[in-house]
Symmetry: C2
Subunit: 216 residues, 2 copies
């Protein structure tokens, strides 16, 4: 059984923390982009590296022993802030902010820059898979139950350009502890990638609702 | 047709650049980890944020207009340094360093920390998909031809813990311009995730060998 930690913050404090860490993480995300694209000379690069190492050392003076985990507030709000696809504190995540309609469908707008490249100028196929795996899983579990991915199949119809994209998913059907979810990624011209997945409620999570909480 | 740029550096200069940018990117990767795990107070966080923004501004005084792209040296070595799975200059990538046996098989050891979390303490299913998509594609193309992912199917046998993992792939068979590749992720106890994919040589790349170059 996985551990979903309780985080004792009210909604106002949660909003304050979101602003604080969201802004900080955006700054680090911007640095990740600049790290790929910079063409400054070696001396400048070495000087900046020293500054970054000093900044990291300051952050590490007080830190968690391990990964962030998944925390849930008393009002049931999710703080999956380390999550690789949607984590508010994860500068490696785009991050994807998912909108749910409460009837089994969801969508997100994402802007993918230099850090998500595979073929020249295009989204890495594996990044498409990461975003689809996440939105399909979250769509299957949202407000309902705790799913883990069983299988996922991804079909690439054509190349996906870097830039603004729409990611979406909807529940196809349930079969007892399995949920079948379908989804896609689209650019301005239409669908580029399709996915279908089977998500499974593990034994320890059955009958307990959605342990992830109700929101990112 | 995609643009694979020529980068006019010899092997010695390539090694020097690898050291320079590899070290810089490792520092940024360490900051991404600390950004998730830090528990310093708000004043410290705000001060560090200012330093990071200043560092980014210095890097951006001279930079590429867009993503890094894929460059190849005169001796055929690949510089896919912005790549989301293996990019030497991409702090969002683990990065995965792939070893090829030259006979259609490959493997990589990866150490996944806090930035790759999905369920508490576990690797995000979509990160597993990203790594598998990449190694399967590269295994299908290495020394042979230029593939893009057609379809990929991923089966999660059990949860994958964060930490040290082995990722591997091998070519199953070719059918004209399609290559069928299989692979897996393992922890110390054995296989946790299996994948099979079909990779397709696009029309513009047929008969031209592997435009990606021979090494990362």
């Amino acid at each position: 059984m996985l551990h979903f930690a309780q985080e004792d913050v009210d909604d106002a404090e949660l909003e304050r923390l979101r602003g604080l860490y969201g802004s900080f993480t955006d700054a680090v995300r911007d640095l990740v982009d600049a790290t790929i694209r910079t063409e400054v000379d070696e001396d400048t690069l070495r000087a900046v590296q020293g500054e970054i190492e000093a900044a990291t050392a300051r952050l590490r003076t007080k830190q968690l022993d391990g990964p962030y985990g998944v925390r849930v507030t008393p009002t049931g709000k999710s703080m999956a802030w380390g999550n690789a696809a949607v984590g508010l504190r994860n500068a490696a995540a785009p991050p994807m902010v998912i909108n749910h309609d409460g009837k089994g469908s969801s969508w997100a707008q994402v802007d993918l820059g230099a850090a998500y490249e595979g073929p020249p100028g295009l989204v890495h196929g594996g990044v498409a898979a990461l975003l689809l795996d996440h939105i399909l899983g979250e769509t299957g579990s949202f407000g309902r139950r705790t799913n883990l991915t069983g299988t996922i199949e991804i079909k690439f119809l054509r190349a996906t350009p870097l830039g603004r994209l729409r990611v979406e998913a909807r529940i196809d059907r349930d079969e007892q502890y399995k949920t079948f979810v379908v989804g896609s990624i689209s650019d301005a011209e239409g669908v580029t990638v399709e996915a279908r997945g089977v998500f499974i409620v593990p034994k320890w999570a059955r009958g307990k609702g959605n342990l992830w909480g109700s929101e990112q």
